[in-house]
């Protein structure tokens, strides 16, 4: 047995050597190389991830969202991983609003993919389902993409602002992305826990714009109508609150479909709408008396080598007549009394030749040459609105100065900026640029403009209810450096109402081809249509209390009554029905109530607004009937109750295509 003991010793020794070797090796790996292995483990198992910050929303002045950032999902399904394919398929179909047979069909593939995009609420019940993989996509959502498209702009593929306000406000809208370290497994799946947040993301600020979605809609539709009717190359509409400089609506359309905020970027020669500024220069310097008359020269007036023509000459004109009938001869003769410096300074003071400073990335400055660069004819040209180029927003701001008792305000698109926690970090206050003319001169100029609508070239813009002050402009267009024969820019600048204006409205139509090219017959009716709709719309930023005092045309109520501060937003203080008597019971012809049954609500309301009715909404969904019923007649300005109900087959058939909107014949 001695032998056995020896052999056993040998085996035991071999085992002992093995044990020592293992412990030695473990010590080498764990104690000597431990740090290296640990760092390798750390590197392969953890991943730094960026926690993206929500981009701020863009809202209209009442909080209607114009641009939102939403997280949507694509849904991928590995059918072989599903616990209960039958039940899970049904859940998928229900949650994703897909037809069950289609879902079953898709699930028969090796990997099913539902592109969606689906909302967070839709996919919430799917999160716990095995075999379902959600792919989150953050995207910028424009609830009404066509609304103020060019001004709002878009974000690029990188999620940063690429154009328009999205670009200007990018640093405000973009939050600060956070960072975290997450644990991942070999397949790259990240584990929620343990995750270490290094820096939480800070959401971007929300920006409340000055735009009024309702007015914006009205402006865009009116401009579209005008473009269709006149076959114009393009056009702009700008609505401005003169008391604050806030842009309420800005619509731009190009016939070629280009999305360009041409109201800010494209310049044109304003023509007659600039005559009022020459008049302002004259009045401010006392160079013309109210009853002073100049000869109409029989419609042809030779100045140097040029002949100035009036289409409908008057024998003798006062300054008021010159503005009212837009007489070139009279304004040129009167403006000759101004020194070039005075003429230049006045135009400069109204903001021409310099960018307005509105928050748009590519605003054009326009062109106003200093007197040293003038030719002998420049003074006459400038009096008629030539030899200077302006943008629509510059015209709106300058007319805003007339409305605002002579003080030029910087126009703005931004009303308020709210931080991630809802705190207001910026609130717009009117920013005076300078006083262009005195309050008295501004008032006198408004009276001149009022004459245009009452008896002059702007009668097409007249409303039965409220006085409007306005000026027409029909200027020849420059194409490739020369005046193109038969091409005109029709423009119209209006103050509404004429006393204590609340809206400055500028319409510009480029090269109307169909029918008359005169602004009085192209741009002016568009303006009236917009004002009527604005009055009929419920939510538009009109101070109706002050409108009502203005209506009887008594200049009694001045801004002083409001403590010098003009409340530019006042909620509608009246019930719709009681509001009706506000409109003077003029002998306006009653209008037929249009048939809107079956249309979607927005269309229906729009049609009723166009007819000048106020709309009281009952229900939601698709328009059913109205009271008074379609075909009946009602007075413009009276309330029409619109009954709506849920759409009959919401998913099977899309909303009925909007029929062409019946345009009421313009009187």
């Amino acid at each position: 047995m001695a032998k056995l003991a020896v052999r056993l010793q040998v085996i035991q020794a071999a085992m002992f050597v093995g044990l020592v070797a293992l412990i030695g090796r473990a010590a080498q790996v764990q104690l000597v190389q431990g740090r290296r292995w640990a760092s390798e483990a750390q590197i392969q198992r953890t991943e730094h991830i960026v926690l993206s910050a929500r981009r701020g929303a863009l809202l209209d002045r009442y909080g209607t969202p114009l641009a939102l950032t939403q997280e949507t999902y694509h849904v991928g399904v590995a059918p072989n991983e599903l616990r209960d394919p039958e039940r899970d398929g049904a859940t998928l179909a229900r949650q994703l609003h897909l037809a069950l047979p289609d879902v079953r069909q898709t699930l028969s593939r090796r990997y099913a993919y539902f592109a969606g995009p689906f909302s967070a609420i839709q996919v919430q019940p799917l999160r716990a389902m095995r075999g379902v993989h959600l792919e989150a996509v953050v995207n910028r959502f424009y609830p009404r993409p066509e609304l103020a498209h060019a001004v709002i702009g878009r974000v690029g593929d990188d999620g940063r602002g690429a154009s328009g306000l999205e670009l200007v406000l990018d640093s405000v809208l973009t939050g600060r992305p956070g960072a975290a370290v997450v644990l991942k497994d070999r397949a790259g799946r990240e584990y929620e826990s343990p995750a270490r947040v290094i820096a939480p993301p800070v959401a971007g600020s929300d920006v409340v714009l000055t735009l009024d979605a309702e007015l914006q809609d009205i402006a865009q539709r009116a401009l579209d109508d005008a473009m269709r009717r006149t076959k114009a190359d393009g056009g702009d509409v700008v609505m401005l609150d003169p008391a604050t400089g806030e842009v309420l609506a800005v619509a731009s359309r190009r016939r070629d479909g280009a999305v360009r905020a041409s109201a800010f970027t494209d310049t044109f020669e304003p023509g007659s709408i600039a005559k009022i500024f020459a008049a302002g220069a004259l009045l401010a310097r006392g160079l013309v008396a109210p009853d002073e008359r100049v000869s109409g020269e029989g419609g042809r007036y030779r100045l140097a080598k040029r002949t100035i023509v009036d289409e409908e000459p008057l024998p003798e004109l006062t300054l008021a007549d010159a503005i009212r009938v837009s007489s070139n001869i009279a304004i040129v003769k009167l403006a000759a009394r101004l020194t070039p410096a005075a003429q230049y300074t006045t135009l400069r003071d109204f903001g021409f030749g310099a960018p307005t400073g509105i928050e748009f990335p590519t605003e054009a400055a326009g062109r106003l040459r200093p007197p040293v660069e003038w030719s002998r004819l420049s003074a006459a040209s400038l009096a008629m609105g030539y030899e200077l180029s302006v943008t629509t927003i510059q015209v709106a701001a300058a007319y805003g100065a007339l409305a605002n008792d002579g003080i030029l305000l910087q126009p703005t698109l931004i009303r308020q900026i709210r931080g991630a926690e809802g705190d207001v970090v910026y609130r717009h206050r009117p920013e005076p640029v300078r006083r262009a003319v005195t309050a008295d001169v501004a008032r006198a100029l408004r009276e001149l403009l009022r004459g245009v609508v009452e008896h002059g070239t702007g009668t097409e813009a007249a409303l039965a209810t409220f006085p409007v002050a306005a000026k027409t402009g029909t200027a020849r267009r420059v194409v490739r450096g020369r005046y193109a024969p038969g091409q005109y820019t029709a423009s119209f600048a209006a103050l509404f109402p004429a006393d204590h204006p609340q809206i400055v409205l500028v319409v510009k139509i480029d090269n109307p081809r169909s029918g008359s090219y005169f602004a009085s017959e192209t741009a002016a009716p568009v303006t009236r249509s917009m004002l009527e709709q604005a009055l009929a719309a419920r939510d538009v930023a009109l101070d109706r209390a002050r409108l009502s005092t203005a209506a009887p045309r008594s200049p009694a109520a001045g801004p002083e009554e409001y403590g010098g501060v003009v409340p530019y937003v006042v909620t509608w203080p009246y019930q719709p029905d009681t509001a009706v008597p506000l409109f003077p019971p003029l002998a306006r012809p009653r209008r037929p109530v249009p048939d809107v049954a079956g249309r979607n609500l927005r269309e229906a309301v729009h049609v009723l607004h166009r007819q000048g009715f106020r709309v009281v909404l009952r229900g939601w969904g698709v328009a059913r009937r109205t009271s008074p019923v379609a075909g009946d007649s009602a007075a413009p300005g009276s309330a029409v109750t619109l009954f709506a109900g849920p759409a009959p087959t919401p998913r099977a058939a899309p909303a009925p295509a909007p029929a062409p909107v019946p345009v009421p014949p313009t009187p």
């Binding site: 032998k3 052999r7 085996i11 085992m15 044990l19 790996v29 292995w37 483990a41 392969q44 198992r45």
Partner: protein, 371 residues
């Protein structure tokens, strides 16, 4: 006989400690694997616990019974093992012996699934001890001593090899060798056998891609295929990251798919990561003590069969442990050897406990008759 009772008690205690340690380690290493599969996190550990209970009961019964019964039952046991090993090789038995990871190593009997090769480790040792004890000094001759062993064991090893499970076949051969060596077989015979089987072994390794890859990986870690180095590398990452004190029970992260079979073939890596060098040392010392006690029992056993039986069974525990730990520490080529008492696998755990029971029986001299 009274004076050596402490060894058997300590042996039983060690086995119990190792089993508990193992249950904890299995739970920690498997919970993340089971959860995404829709199983409860403790599923593996619970199944292991049932194996431990069954094994514990059997071991207790065995420990209190006469170990010479094994001597008498050696031939029938070997025959039964051979039969079991044959089942997975038959083409019409797929329903009870399905292929798992490309190998058919398990046989299902409905209520229990058995890994016949685990059983073979035990029965071969029992049979060799029986025959070597019977042959006595004849073992030193080739024709009457070694040849009978070869005649019976070669077909059995072939069965294991064709499962396929090369490493287990080698392990069983080594265990048989340990018994014969202890019994006094000539060293010259071992040398001849070793030289003679070398070409066989080489062709066996070269015949299967995964074996070749594993060996190449071991010989030259840089040049081998990526997936082959992966396991070993990740095992080292896990153990190394444990450093001195480990990252804490359950805190190991290599099991997140980085380390395959973190609960069975690479459980020592998980232990190294979670318990650190301290835990690794304790674990190895516990196993080392177990082996040391086993050899102590062998040395003082009251019969030659008992001695050889104890040596062979202790060797089966010790060599399995060294193989397993050596693989996880990249000291040996990758093989699927379980860590006795610890790794997930009820066959392995059951056999470990059975071995403990037999060793206790030998140690307490429950032979009835003296030498």
């Amino acid at each position: 006989m009274i004076e050596r009772r402490w060894e058997t008690r300590l042996l039983a205690l060690l086995a119990a400690v190792l089993v508990v340690f193992g249950l904890v380690a299995v739970y920690g290493a498997s919970s993340l694997v089971t959860t995404p599969a829709g199983d409860v996190g403790a599923g593996f550990a619970l199944r292991q616990l049932f194996g431990a209970i069954a094994g514990g009961i059997v071991a207790t019964v065995v420990a209190r019974s006469d170990y010479h019964r094994w001597q008498r039952a050696a031939w029938p046991l070997l025959a039964a093992t051979a039969l079991l090993l044959l089942i997975p090789l038959l083409p019409f038995t797929r329903s009870i012996a399905p292929a798992i990871n490309g190998a058919r190593r398990w046989v299902s009997f409905g209520f229990v699934t058995v890994q016949p090769s685990e059983l073979a480790k035990f029965t071969v040792v029992v049979w060799c001890a029986m025959l070597a004890a019977k042959k006595g000094e004849q073992i030193r001759t080739f024709r009457l001593g070694v040849l009978p062993f070869l005649t019976v064991l070669m077909p059995l090893l072939a069965l294991i090899f064709f499962e396929p499970n090369l490493s287990m076949a080698l392990l069983v051969a080594v265990l048989a060798g340990v018994v014969l060596f202890t019994a006094g077989a000539r060293i010259g015979h071992f040398l001849v056998l070793a030289v003679g089987s070398a070409p066989l072994l080489f062709s066996a390794v070269a015949s299967a891609q995964y074996r070749l890859a594993r060996v190449l990986t071991f010989l030259n870690p840089g040049s081998a295929p990526a997936e082959a180095t992966w396991q070993v590398h990740q095992s080292l990452v896990g153990i190394g990251a444990g450093k001195l004190l480990g990252v804490g029970l359950g805190q190991g992260q290599q099991k997140l798919g980085y380390l395959p079979y973190a609960y069975s073939d690479f459980i020592f890596s998980t232990i190294g990561e979670e318990w650190g060098f301290v835990g690794v040392s304790v674990m190895l010392l516990l196993l080392g003590t177990f082996v040391w006690l086993g050899f102590r029992i062998a040395r003082s056993a009251d019969s030659r069969f008992g001695q050889l039986l104890a040596v062979g069974l202790t060797g089966s525990i010790g060599i399995s442990a060294i193989l397993h730990v050596g693989v996880t520490l990249a000291l040996l080529p990758t093989t699927g050897v379980t860590l006795p008492f610890i790794s997930y696998g009820r066959s392995s755990l059951f056999m470990s406990l059975l071995v403990t029971g037999v060793l206790v029986s030998v140690g307490e001299g429950r032979g009835g008759v003296g030498r």
